[in-house]
Amino acid sequence: MDARRESEPTPMKNRTTVERKSERELVVTRTFNGPARIVFEAWTKPELFRRWWVPKSMGMVLRSCEMDVRVGGTYRLAFEPDGVAFFGTYLEVTPPSRLVWTNEESGEGGPVTTVTFEEIGGQTLLVMHELYPSKEALDAAGTGAADATVETFAQLDELLLALGANLGVLT
């Protein structure tokens, strides 16, 4: 085990960030230690894609993964045991820098996903952008409505704590 570790050093994990950019948009950002053509390949070849898209922590098993990666082509990912599926259509395929597809499993409310791969000094900056048809659709995908951005949460949390303490004293 130790020998294997020495021969295959595990690099530091890069940070994944998520931001609710607007009422209708979520943006996920991550850097990968490899050229864009390799990262792009891992997003567009089903035998590679299925190895990372369902991490063990998700607790689900992929039954099938079909991807016809070309403009107008479709994809379909079905899970064990009941066949719950994610599916949609590729709108743009520009190797190795850009992929755009629809998410149609939840009907009209599904977002359009745009992934860009930007190579910088041998590394790849990946930006995944999900644009929902409406604020309501994004809220429904996650949680209740909120107008504030992520950055204000910390301050508001502090305020809530202070408020809770005050109310405790006052009543």
């Binding site: 690099p11 991550r30 990968f32 490899g34 305020l159 009543t171």
Partner: protein
């Protein structure tokens, strides 16, 4: 950003300077309520309660939603907490995916090296 935050704080503290409004927040922390419910509970007119709720709403402490003829009030912050929690859950899923993707990328890089030249389809 800082300016925005302080404006927000000022509005919040102004909203909290009134004993009835603090009571309304405490009440909403237990359960959502309509303006009529709140007016009854605090023994005031509908118009008076509407004004208080409006101040709390502008401070972002309360959100209201009109369903039919009833306006329901909720604690605003709780919803923010929910969104923060959801975004963190979503981030964790993608972080887990991308950590696995690192492994795939490392493997493809090694394969390219072994091949001695760029692997092209």
């Amino acid at each position: 950003m800082v300016q925005y935050t302080w404006t927000r704080f000022d509005a919040s503290f102004a909203a909290l300077s009134d004993v009835t409004r603090r009571g309304v927040l405490e009440q909403l922390a237990r359960a959502d309520a309509s303006i009529t419910d709140l007016a009854d509970r605090f023994q005031m007119t509908l118009t008076g309660m509407k004004k208080h709720v409006c101040v709390l709403e502008q401070a972002g402490l309360v959100t209201t939603e009109k369903l039919g003829r009833v306006r329901t009030c909720k604690l605003g912050l709780r919803r923010l907490d929910e969104e923060a929690a959801w975004i963190e859950k979503y981030r964790k899923l993608w972080a887990a995916r991308f950590d696995e993707l690192d492994t795939v990328v490392e493997e493809l890089k090694r394969m390219e090296k072994v091949d001695g030249r760029k692997k092209r389809e």
